[in-house]
Symmetry: C2
Subunit: 342 residues, 2 copies
Amino acid sequence: MKIAVDAMGGDHAPRNPVHGAVLAASEVESEIVLVGDEPTIRRELEAHGSPAGISIVHAEQVIGMEEGMATGIRRKRQSSIHVGARLLRSGDVDGVVSAGNTGAVMAVTKVIAGTLDGVDRPALAVVLPTQTGRALVLDVGANADPKGRHLVQFGLIGDQLARQLLGIARPRVGLLSIGEEAGKGNDLVRSAHRGLSAQDIEFLGNVEARDLYQGGADVVVCDGFTGNILLKTSEAAVETLRTLMREEFARTIAGKIGGLFARGAFARLRKRVDYEEFGGALLVGVRGLTVISHGRSTPRALGNAIGLVEEYARHDLNSCVETALAGLVTVDPTETASIGVN
Amino acid sequence: MKIAVDAMGGDHAPRNPVHGAVLAASEVESEIVLVGDEPTIRRELEAHGSPAGISIVHAEQVIGMEEGMATGIRRKRQSSIHVGARLLRSGDVDGVVSAGNTGAVMAVTKVIAGTLDGVDRPALAVVLPTQTGRALVLDVGANADPKGRHLVQFGLIGDQLARQLLGIARPRVGLLSIGEEAGKGNDLVRSAHRGLSAQDIEFLGNVEARDLYQGGADVVVCDGFTGNILLKTSEAAVETLRTLMREEFARTIAGKIGGLFARGAFARLRKRVDYEEFGGALLVGVRGLTVISHGRSTPRALGNAIGLVEEYARHDLNSCVETALAGLVTVDPTETASIGVN
């Protein structure tokens, strides 16, 4: 198996992607292909003793982290993102990891690798730790203004991903909303609720963040704006609690002693909740396998993302998703009036 | 000063509202008026020794926590929520606290007390703890499908509230989005961004949850769906971290010792981040002063909500908001195409 890594993507490229590849090389079975400026990558690799199992494919150009779509996608056809997507399309690699410009990776991959049959809009999916296990959340950022019918597709896609990736026979699929009763939420949620109710999946109806984190759903469906808010709010709230905790621990002798003794517990906890451990978001609905990591990804996070791609590549995700979407039941898309209060 | 408390509102009514009033009676200067079924409330009060400073106003009916708008609002005009709103309108009380059906409290208060001049849609505002202080977030649940112009009003209202309630001379107002650059987000955010940019406020542009929690904004504006997701995700993420932490602490001797020593730190931390400590959400844009508490509110949370109302009532919030909205600058509401990717 071969996995391409965008060596030029992310806030600390090429240093972190190359270092991530080096970390992963000793842990994965796949060959890793670093895509980007060949001389620069070679120098970085040499600093790590040029380990075995890593090769380089040259790419002339780089799309910046904040570059606009027009310049980035249309004018830089030799960017590391483009070259990686072409390797994916041609079957030269089995998957791609990029910590680059999320919008550019999504758009380029969609155009070059193409969307799966039955998919209107690709989505970003993440696996989050819950109190009892793991849950899949999609969309977390690809579609800021989708229609209800897109969320219905996300439900079917999520159902398949949870079967394949989480090994759940009949995943419980929830629709993220404010208030659990049908009718609660916004217009989009009500439209998606009707559509999801008609599908052959274990649809729970509306769920809230609490249900997600308590392990009450295996798949949580939402629009990309809301999903991104959910993800970033979780990170920010946990980070804030940690900072406040450190302050409180440092204030008294007892707290300092407590902090010392609890150090092991915190280290294990960190392994369970850290974004880094989960590597990145899976771009679903496009052909091939693409994981988009955080722009601020550490080498460890990128190494984990490479491992994630290897794990995902063992499943035939694409054809499972296409089969599921072929069974989509369409419903009357009539919108009802807004009620929208929790 | 007089503060009405909906004795029939919330999952544990009348027990918790009455107990909350008893707790608050010894701490606030105001007289507390319990609104609801007189004989039941009297019995509950007697169990607490019928403390001074608490009176009862009878209300025949109760609107259930999950009751629909039609039955609840239109048919139960003698509900504790209706009676409380009429006391507010007539000036018999200076503020109202209810842990009842949020939708019903909002709708009834809007109809009976009326909206402020210049306000199209009332909103729910909460004050959240940040790493450096406090920030005001609105809307957290009143409007699931607002337009950009409503978010612009929320910005002006939030600016005034932060001046009055948080004592900030020129509050920094951010627009909650995914990605900080203008243009990032969904259609609603882009529309609101244009409108907010034209106002005479310290507009930061888009902000993310991280900025909010790190103290990078004094006011964060969003639609009620997104705000409610933000609030509930924060609660759920923190709660999950706590549960996992307890598990980790219990796993080893060192962890158990650490937990014991850290107990004081956790207790202080809890005071800083607990929902209970903050009492509830302020219904802004309607005449008078109404705080809506969580349906699951403990007596302590309800007691704090009463204290909050007393504190808020010292400011002339309503006329400040009306003056601010009179200065609203209207902009061309033309929508631009969706880009919407982070």
